[in-house]
Symmetry: C2
Subunit: 192 residues, 2 copies
DNA sequence: TCCATTATTAGACGGAGTCTAAGTTCGGTG
DNA sequence: CACCGAACTTAGACTCCGTCTAATAATGGA
């Protein structure tokens, strides 16, 4: 990794950690981009070089994290049923969020602007996974593939939404597995 | 309906129709809230009395529409399985969007700002449906209810996302029914 | 050491969204 | 009909987000 790339990564992390620290202390809307930039010792313009918006600094993933989930996708055998692969990838992705999810939840709970944002930590992951599904199911029925893709994310959303404030991250992961299994079986099969 | 209420509704519709007309002509980001207000013969401040944001004018539903979908929900028999009720309500809701969906799609396709917005026409409907599900399933397992709720929306998203530009609205509805049925059966049951 | 490329920066700008204080319209009451 | 309080509208000022430009600084290779 060249010196340039190292510096970029360092700057990215400096901005993000400064921002999260300030958000955590004072709340999302009480902190301006100007203040974040000052705390990270960069200019306001540089902030927007690294993050497309103020919201992005909350939801964007560390650039190196991308390598991990791409590895997850490539690790799935080609003959595995799509739903099983999606389940495994979803769990693998979520297991890595142990550190960031709690903070992100706290911010969302405090800040109206973030609470109503439909974005979440998986925005970039979602794009990559979409592409992976597209290439993997190339030639087969795109409707079924898209549906499974969306159902998998619905299962994750459900696990996240039903996460009580006092529950541990491991319990969240456990419920996530249950949601994925239940979605795979079909709601009509189990409930009622 | 009092004169006051009539005027409010008229103002709401005047603002929205002016906005949609301008957006359609010049594109979403090329039109400012100031211009919308001028076209609707109200002040900028009044615009924000009726719509929480510039985006809301694209996605908010006509106040009277709410009565319709609430009727849809109340029409479901109490002993019907939740998934069947959700399916019926979703279809009933979508059938009413024949007029607005095409325009909304066109705007989304043209405007980057709208394209990345995760909002859609069903935002308020979603809230009401969430409440309806909550009261209906009160006492029973909330996880299963939330999961079915989210899966139903995932099915709608899928039908919407896979809607080709040249396809009719009726074909969209047809595919929506298929997505709901398939989601109800579970992806694992059918595919692969 | 020099040079092309890339990153950073200040500063200005337009527009979104909030707020206040003043004006206007409605609906009920005497 | 005249009045009053409540609800609605409005101009205008303000903050901050996000974009852009043109100038400066740092990097890595020749």
């Amino acid at each position: 990794m060249s010196l340039r790339e190292q510096k970029k990564l360092a700057a990215w992390r400096a901005i993000r950690s400064a921002a999260l620290r300030l958000f955590d202390q004072r709340g999302y809307e009480a902190v301006s981009v100007e203040q974040i930039a000052a705390a990270a010792n960069v200019s306001r313009a540089t902030f927007f070089n690294y993050f497309a918006s103020k919201e992005a600094v909350v939801f964007d993933q560390d650039p190196q994290e991308r390598d991990h989930w791409r590895a997850l996708m490539n690790a799935r055998p080609a003959d595995e049923p799509l739903w099983d692969a999606l389940t495994a990838i979803m769990i693998g992705f979520n297991e890595r969020l142990a550190d960031r999810m709690p903070l992100q939840r706290r911010l969302k709970a405090q800040s109206p602007a973030l609470a109503q944002s439909t974005q979440d930590l998986g925005e970039q992951f979602r794009t990559d996974l979409r592409d992976w599904v597209a290439t993997r199911t190339d030639g087969t029925d795109p409707l079924t593939a898209t549906l499974q893709f969306n159902l998998a994310f619905a299962a994750v959303s459900t696990a996240y939404q039903t996460w009580p404030a006092d529950e541990s991250f491991d319990q969240y992961l456990q419920r996530l597995r249950r949601c994925l299994a239940q979605a795979g079986a079909g709601p009509a099969a189990k409930a009622n």
